[in-house]
């Protein structure tokens, strides 16, 4: 076991560190500990972190949480000393988990509703990149019923079916000026769905170290008949038929994780997670329109994302019966390769630091608070498709709160 660990650590710097538009806010206890949890069985959030560990939970859970965040980016166009900021818009990724099984049964049922992918960037209508993107609001909710079975006292497995509901709303300016010199506008707004699955295995080793391995499959959100609204000068309106519809498929990539839990004393719990996200599935963002014209063609913008990796570590200190203190952090590599960074997802390698507090409100009721600071390293890029050239950097402050009832 130690060998594997060392190997994982040795790999870490080489692989550097997963994100694109992945959202890693799936449980306040876990956020507090650096968003680890694949190798632990802490609460209902195991439905997400490792369905294999659900059967090892000693209690039943109903819990809900929210982690409101503002993703703040700044862009400095190449060759200028100007800075453009995204508007402060609050995105509220939330979680709900339920886990139930008869006392002492070898199985448990789970249900998770969570937001594993999303993005909210609003650069406004006057910034230099407006012909690439003005606003993106992407949300992907997963509904995941889960069954987990304890094979022995030391090994359990679990799997879930994923139904995904996604909504996208994006706007960009069109370089067709009206008599007042104002550019046209395109808004693509629609919702779609997709399917996937999630499976995991959980071990308790003799040394006391717990290990989890999971796979979350790719889910492709397919949007059909989304609304495509084009505001253009009247003399060109015939070239942009209204109403018009679009279809698109957005791949939400598969994630493979391995995680370890260490329990050196009653007071301390350590966790280490490693994730590989198969971002290579995101090759291009393609929009097909129901009606096309010489001026309105289907678009195919290359993205060429590459697989990304995350290393996370965290700890929990159970100070007393009522209070637990948590902290952690992680490093993630960029999914968007050089020359394919776009303003709606100003992706970059990043690190994050987290902290958390757990408070027992009552014997069966936990209140958990978490806080995360995430920083995306500055990245100077010229997009190969749009030639938008400049430096991005971003950061995110994410408080979170959850309540868990367990019995």
């Amino acid at each position: 076991m130690r060998k594997i660990l060392l190997l994982a650590l040795a790999l870490a710097p080489v692989l550097s560190f997963a994100q694109g538009f992945q959202v890693n806010l799936e449980g306040e206890k876990q956020i507090g500990m650096g968003h680890t949890g694949t190798g632990l069985a802490q609460d209902g959030a195991s439905v997400f972190f490792n369905p294999g560990a659900v059967a090892m939970l000693t209690e039943n859970y109903v819990q809900g949480g929210v982690s409101p965040l503002v993703f703040q980016s700044v862009f400095n166009p190449s060759g200028t000393n100007e800075q453009f900021h995204t508007a402060n818009k609050i995105a509220p990724p939330f979680t709900f988990y339920g886990v139930w099984g008869p006392k002492d049964a070898i199985w448990k049922l789970g249900l998770g509703v969570y937001t594993p992918f999303g993005g909210l960037t609003d650069w406004g209508t006057t910034w230099p990149g407006k012909y690439s993107s003005e606003k993106l609001d992407l949300k992907a909710f997963y509904f995941q019923p889960t069954l987990s079975v304890k094979l022995t006292d030391y090994i359990s497995i679990g799997a879930g079916f994923v139904y995904n509901r996604g909504t996208v709303d994006l706007t960009q300016a069109l370089p067709l000026a009206n008599n007042a010199g104002q550019p046209g506008q395109a808004e693509l707004k629609g919702s779609g769905h997709g399917y996937g699955w999630n499976a995991g295995i959980y071990f308790k080793t003799e040394s006391g170290v717990t290990v989890g391995i999971t796979h979350r499959s790719q889910v492709t959100t397919t949007i059909n008949n989304g609304n495509a609204v084009f505001t253009v000068p009247a003399s060109l309106q015939a070239e942009f038929p209204q109403p018009n519809q679009f279809s698109a498929s957005i791949p939400l990539p598969a994630t493979n994780s391995i995680g370890f839990g260490f329990h050196p004393s009653n007071k301390w719990t350590y966790a280490l997670d490693f994730n590989a996200v198969n971002w290579h599935a995101y090759k291009a963002l393609i929009f097909d329109y129901k009606y096309t014209t010489p001026l309105l063609q289907n678009t195919n913008e290359p993205r060429q994302y590459q697989d990304a990796f995350t290393l996370r570590a965290g700890a929990q200190y159970q100070a007393c019966q009522k209070w637990a203190i948590r902290f952690g952090g992680g490093l993630a590599s960029a999914a968007a390769p050089d020359a394919y960074v776009t303003p709606e997802v100003p992706d970059a390698a990043r690190y994050y630091l987290t902290g958390g507090l757990g408070y027992k409100l009552a014997s069966r009721l936990d209140l958990d608070l978490s806080f995360e600071y995430e920083h995306l390293f500055a990245r100077t890029q010229t997009n190969a498709y749009t030639q938008l050239s400049g430096t991005y950097t971003s950061h995110v402050y994410i408080p979170g709160i959850s309540l868990s009832y367990h019995w």
Partner: protein, 439 residues
């Protein structure tokens, strides 16, 4: 209740945190070894901000020197004053506006004739009528004069023949005796841009080789040397631009021989060729069938083709026989193209060598526009090319630029300046300038 309070605290903390936006540290812009405290722009219509077949206030406000000067503000640039038409006479000389499209997709334009700044006409014997515009008085940094050739910069009576120059001078036509070169160098300056020379070739080309002549090479070399020597005499630094290939502009690439022939053949399948009066050599012209290498001007009224014309050989259809060829003024034929290119490449060699000898920055507009013609260009998510109207760079006259085109040119000047003088004049936001305006 307790939870609610806690939640309020969290929200408050959140609002507070959102106030700390991420920042990037950019170096303070510097003027390098140049001094931008008084920048002047020398040139023709492109420098004046001419667009859509006219000079008007909105075009002036978007002139490339004005954009450059705005960008120089953060690097010690002084105020930059342009000879703007007043708001009441904002439409200046008048210009073309796009009013719609025909069912076949061809554009419909209409002249804007209200709120002009025309104050009268002056008949000049042996030259003709000169349109006079409302005088501009006051400080001046943009000396762009539409129509001026390098060949005319030392010609003392020029201020009586060009209404755009006349409006800048204190005296009235026909009493002016200040040459353009004297006028621009009358007041000291620290930095200049010079984009003269285009009309020395363009005047000949746009008249189909019929209404004007190419400026003699030796004259061009002599005057360019004189110009730059005079401009740099007091130590001013500057940037100059080369003359674009006349065939890289939509004025010559929109109405093509194959397209016109195709349209004629659709109506009349027997037609084999269009006939033009083409340059043979020297000043000898002879009729021949047109090929794709002959360029029609944008203003060619194609409806003339096939109309009966009286000739010594009887009544013949216009443009369809060797005896009734298309008028020379509508065609820059292959030999005229070659002749123009030969002169332009000489002019550009002169410009580059004079600039090098004085240590000036050079924006190679010839190469830049040639490259756009061949490959197009993508700027900040906007795909642009040299096509008429749809290309986004050239205005409705097919020669001059749109605000976006001028912003791109301004940035090329800035890049050349920064590269030469080690300055960091910030680039303009091209996305902020519109292309062709559609109704």
């Amino acid at each position: 209740m307790k939870n609610l309070k806690l939640y309020i605290y969290i929200l408050a903390g959140f609002v507070w945190l959102s106030a700390c936006k991420p920042e990037l540290h950019t170096p303070k812009p510097s003027s390098g070894s140049a001094d931008f405290s008084r920048y002047i722009a020398v040139g023709n219509s492109l420098t004046a901000g001419y667009a859509d077949g006219g000079l008007y206030r909105a075009g002036q406000l978007n002139s490339y020197p004005s954009i450059i000067a705005q960008q120089m503000q953060s690097t010690g640039g002084g105020t930059f004053t342009q000879p703007l038409f007043s708001a009441d006479q904002a439409n200046g000389s008048g210009y073309l506006s796009l009013t719609g499209f025909n069912p076949d997709g061809t554009p419909i334009t209409a002249p804007v004739t209200s709120n002009l700044a025309i104050r009268g006409f002056q008949a000049i014997p042996g030259f003709g009528n000169v349109t006079l515009y409302t005088k501009y008085t006051g400080d001046l940094n943009n000396f762009g004069v539409p129509g001026i050739k390098l060949q005319q910069i030392t010609y003392a009576p020029y201020g009586n023949l060009n209404g755009y120059f006349e409006r800048l001078l204190p005296g009235n036509s026909p009493t002016n005796t200040t040459s353009y070169l004297q006028f621009v160098t009358a007041k000291p300056f620290t930095f200049f841009s010079n984009w003269l020379g285009n009309n020395d070739a363009l005047g000949y080309a746009t008249s189909g080789g019929a209404g004007d002549v190419l400026t003699d090479k030796n004259t061009f070399a002599y005057l360019y040397n004189l110009l730059i020597t005079t401009m740099t005499a007091n130590g001013a630094k500057g940037v100059v631009a080369t003359v674009p290939d006349v065939t890289s502009i939509p004025y010559f690439n929109t109405i093509t021989v194959p397209a016109v022939l195709g349209a004629v053949q659709k109506a009349n399948p027997q037609v084999q060729a269009l006939y033009i009066n083409a340059l043979v050599s020297g000043t000898t012209y002879a009729p021949r069938a047109a090929t794709a290498k002959d360029l029609f001007v944008l203003t060619f009224p194609t409806s003339k083709i096939g109309q009966p014309v009286e000739t010594p050989y009887g009544t013949l259809p216009y443009g369809l026989t060797p005896y009734s060829p298309i008028d020379n003024q509508y065609v820059l034929d292959a030999n005229e193209v070659a002749l123009t290119e030969n002169y332009v490449s000489f002019y550009n060699a002169t410009i580059k060598s004079v600039a090098a000898s004085k240590g000036l920055a050079v924006f190679d507009a010839y190469t830049f526009l040639q490259n756009i013609k061949q490959n197009g260009i993508v700027v900040q998510g906007v795909s642009l090319n040299s096509n008429y109207i749809s290309g986004g760079i050239f205005s409705l006259d097919g020669v001059h630029l749109t605000p976006r085109g001028y912003a791109i040119v301004a940035n090329e000047f800035i890049k050349a300046i920064n590269a030469k003088y080690g300055s960091t004049v910030p680039l303009a936001d091209v996305a902020n300038y519109p292309g062709v305006k559609f109704p």
